[in-house]
């Protein structure tokens, strides 16, 4: 077991623990922070999987954007002054049973499936980012454009939806 594997399993364990932390958190802010930890761990795993572009995007978009957005949302939607940010839980037993059932299904599917992998068959090139850039601008240019339009639309939509704040 080399260092890479140790780091890999460290991130893996950290992500799992962070996910459990989200589940256990009583406070929304703590949950959001646990989510950041989880996402950063996954970003670390992405780096180890030679998906650097994706890892950077993950860090930037999630940790720097989405989670901050959510923290702001928490601030706005909770009356911090007279009410703690506690999160109550409901439907615990059916929820856990359902989750356990889903986990069982997926794990069952994974264990009964044999993946014909090629371990260490090819070492990804270091110009992975470049390769992706080419692919995006050539093979996937239409989805990229559409994604851009989607972003624009969602931006406008979110702004319009939340525009009451501006009116205030």
């Amino acid at each position: 077991m080399n260092l890479k594997d140790i780091i890999h399993y460290f991130f893996l364990l950290l992500a799992a623990l962070a996910a459990v932390g989200i589940l256990m958190a009583k406070n929304v802010l703590h949950a959001a922070l646990s989510l950041i930890i989880c996402l950063l761990s996954i970003a670390g795993i992405f780096v180890l999987l030679h998906a650097e572009l994706l890892a950077v995007t993950q860090i930037m978009v999630y940790a720097g954007g989405v989670v901050i957005l959510m923290i702001f949302g928490v601030m706005l939607s909770s009356r911090v002054a007279n009410k703690p940010l506690n999160v109550e839980t409901a439907r615990k037993i059916p929820g856990f049973i359902t989750g356990a059932g889903l986990l069982f299904i997926i794990v069952y599917a994974l264990t009964t499936t044999s993946f014909s992998l090629h371990p260490n068959s090819s070492t990804p090139a270091s110009n992975n980012v470049r390769e992706i850039g080419f692919q995006l601008m050539s093979s996937y240019v239409a989805p990229l454009e559409i994604a851009g339009i989607l972003l624009l639309i969602s931006l406008i939509g979110a702004a319009v939806t939340a525009s009451f704040l501006i009116k205030k």
Binding site: R91, I97, T98, L102
Partner: protein
């Protein structure tokens, strides 16, 4: 008698019959503003009726009788005819009833001039006269029964005329009930007659009696005699008549002296052919008991009207006793004379009561105006009344030269002839008749003595009142009736009863001198005895003991009957009602059980199904509770379950 005569006689008889009821109907519609004219209207109509009946009497007397027949009703294919008969008997009664009714109408106008129910009184008086004349004219037992009941009904109304007095109501009820007892037998007798002869026409029955079993005839006649006993107050149904004196005094004069109580005697004369010798013995026995009982009652009584009532009972018994002699002529003759002198006595008593009432009213004193103990020496104050009372009383006692003597002699003679025919019981009845006439003299003398002679026990009160003279309308009827009590009305010869009336009735017997002599001496003896008895020992009542039948009936009949009815009532309540209640409760219990069954099982099943469906529905509805996370939960859970099911199967 020509056909034209018959026509007029029929019309006049109907007029004499119907005019009283016309008066009754007219009074119903007379406006109350004309209340003062009521006696005038009524008396005028009665006067017309009297004139008509007088014409009828004159044309019918000793002529062949007139029978009016009409088809009354057809029942079951059989024609039932009603018959009226106008012969000597009915013509005589027609006159008597109308005459006395007229006089009573006149008398009442003064006697009751302040009465609130004057209109009602006169209406019922007219109605009574009509009903009584119905009995008189009837030639059919069913028609007779019809009017018999109407007479009883109007008597009930008139006795209870002063309905605010509880005694009057009780007396009216008593009279009505006693008549019912007699009429029950009467009705059974009529039914038997109908079953036997298929007709109730007197003449038809009379023709058929010869071929009939005498025992049956005896029973029938005795049953019919029951009705006579009720109406004529014969023992043991005699106690209602003294109580009936609660009614107004003119009513007592008309109904309870002259007419209604005589209806029984009259009916006996009509159905005399039915009575077998056996039945006649029973009739005589009842008559003699009644005559003695009434005479003793008159000796005991202290109320002037009660004395007269008991006297009436006694005289009626005397008539019935005479009926047993084999001829009804003497009894009818006595009925005729009795009607006048007893009505005269009653109206005199009414005058006295009226006078004393006036005295009482002026001086505001209180004493019983009918009690002879409060009277005495009234001859100075009421001279006309005194003379009328004296004549009528003497007639009642059987003093010679007066009508009572003549008619009494007729009965005695008939009874004497019965003994001559070898009837040993006849001697007993003859003795009783003489005893009764002796007692009659005694109580009449006692009554007259206490009322009019001696010193006046309320002289100071009368002095204080300074009562004015009595109105003519009171004294006139009394005087007329007193005048009718002399012998001339019956026969020219004062010692011979077989005058013009007696010979016109039934089967008369010849006059017998011995009876006349004995009777006269007997009366004189009785007067002497009474005079000395009362003069030496003036007691209020010469006898101490008198069989009070009312007490006897109360003890022997009324109380056991009430006890029995109490028992039956409790039986009814306990067992009959109890069983009904038990059945009802059982039904309710069963119904409740069924209801419980229904509710628990039938409804329970239905409701259970409904509740099951509802429960399932509410469970499924609870899934759709509007919460997004629940939807997510159930969607994913069902997906998981679905996949697991695929995987594991």
């Amino acid at each position: 008698m020509t056909a034209d005569d018959t026509f007029w006689v029929t019309r006049l008889a109907l007029a004499a019959w119907m005019l009283p009821v016309v008066s009754c109907v007219a009074l119903l519609f007379i406006p109350s503003g004309l209340k003062k004219r009521v006696p005038l209207v009524s008396s005028s109509l009665l006067f017309l009726a009297f004139i008509s009946s007088a014409f009828v009497f004159v044309s019918v007397w000793n002529n062949p009788s007139v029978v009016i027949t009409w088809n009354w009703f057809t029942f079951n294919g059989m024609e039932n005819n009603g018959q009226l008969r106008i012969d000597n008997l009915s013509a005589l009664m027609l006159v008597v009833v109308n005459f006395i009714s007229l006089l009573v109408h006149l008398f009442s106008s003064a006697y009751l001039h302040n009465d609130a129910g004057l209109k009602r009184y006169y209406a019922i008086l007219g109605f009574f006269t009509f009903a009584m004349l119905g009995i008189v004219l009837s030639d059919n037992l069913f028609v007779t029964f019809f009017f018999w009941e109407l007479v009883g009904f109007s008597s009930y109304l008139l006795i209870g005329h002063w309905r605010e007095k509880p005694e009057a109501g009780a007396a009216a009820t008593k009279a009505f009930l006693f008549n019912r007892i007699g009429d029950a037998g009467f009705l059974i007798g009529i039914g038997l007659l109908w079953a036997q002869f298929n007709s109730l026409h007197f003449e038809t029955i009379a023709k058929a009696t010869a071929a009939t079993d005498p025992a049956l005839l005896t029973w029938i006649s005795l049953l019919l005699f029951c009705g006579v006993m009720g109406k004529s107050a014969q023992f043991p149904l005699s106690t209602w008549l003294p109580d009936a004196m609660e009614g107004p005094t003119p009513v007592s004069a008309l109904i309870h002296a002259a007419t209604m109580v005589a209806a029984g005697v009259f009916l006996m004369a009509r159905i005399y052919f039915l009575f077998t010798p056996t039945a006649l013995v029973v009739v005589s026995t009842i008559g003699s008991i009644t005559a003695l009982w009434g005479a003793f009652g008159a000796l005991k009584a202290l109320d002037i009207k009660k004395i007269l009532a008991y006297s009436t009972v006694s005289q009626l018994g005397f008539m019935i006793l005479g009926m047993g002699s084999g001829s009804f002529s003497g009894s009818i003759l006595h009925l005729f004379t009795h009607a006048f002198f007893k009505a005269c006595l009653f109206l005199s008593a009414g005058t006295i009561i009226h006078y004393l009432h006036g005295v009482q009213h002026k001086t505001h004193t209180h004493f019983d105006v009918q009690d002879i103990r409060n009277m005495g020496g009234l001859r100075q104050h009421l001279p006309y009344t005194f003379f009328a009372f004296l004549i009528a009383g003497a007639s009642l006692s059987g003093v010679p030269l007066l009508s009572g003597f003549v008619s009494k002699e007729a009965i005695l003679t008939q009874l004497y002839y019965t003994t001559q025919n070898g009837n040993t019981l006849g001697w007993l009845f003859l003795c009783i008749a003489f005893i009764v006439s002796f007692l009659t003299v005694y109580y009449t003398f006692r009554m007259t003595y206490f009322i009019f002679f001696g010193h006046c026990r309320i002289a100071d009160v009368i002095q204080e009142a300074k009562a004015e003279r009595l109105p003519l309308i009171l004294t006139l009827p009394v005087s007329i009736l007193a005048a009718c009590s002399v012998w001339l009305i019956v026969s020219w010869n004062p010692s011979d009863f077989s005058g013009w009336i007696y010979n016109g009735l039934g089967n008369p017997v010849p006059h017998h001198l011995i009876i006349t002599v004995i009777s006269s001496i007997w009366v004189v003896l009785a007067f002497i005895f009474a005079y000395f008895n009362l003069r030496n020992k003036p007691r209020w009542s010469p006898i101490r003991f008198f069989p009070d039948l009312d007490v006897f009936y109360t003890v022997t009949l009324l109380k056991p009957l009430l006890q029995l009815s109490r028992y039956t009532l409790s039986f009814d309540k306990k067992w009959i009602d109890g069983s009904i209640h038990f059945a009802a409760y059982a039904q309710v219990t069963i119904a409740k059980a069924v209801m419980l069954f229904d509710r628990v099982l039938i409804d329970g099943a239905v409701n259970g199904i409904a509740r099951l469906a509802g429960g399932i529905g509410s469970i499924t509805r609870s899934l759709a509770n509007g919460k997004i996370q629940s939807y997510i939960l159930w969607a994913t859970a069902s997906l998981v379950i679905f996949i697991l099911w695929i995987l594991l199967s």
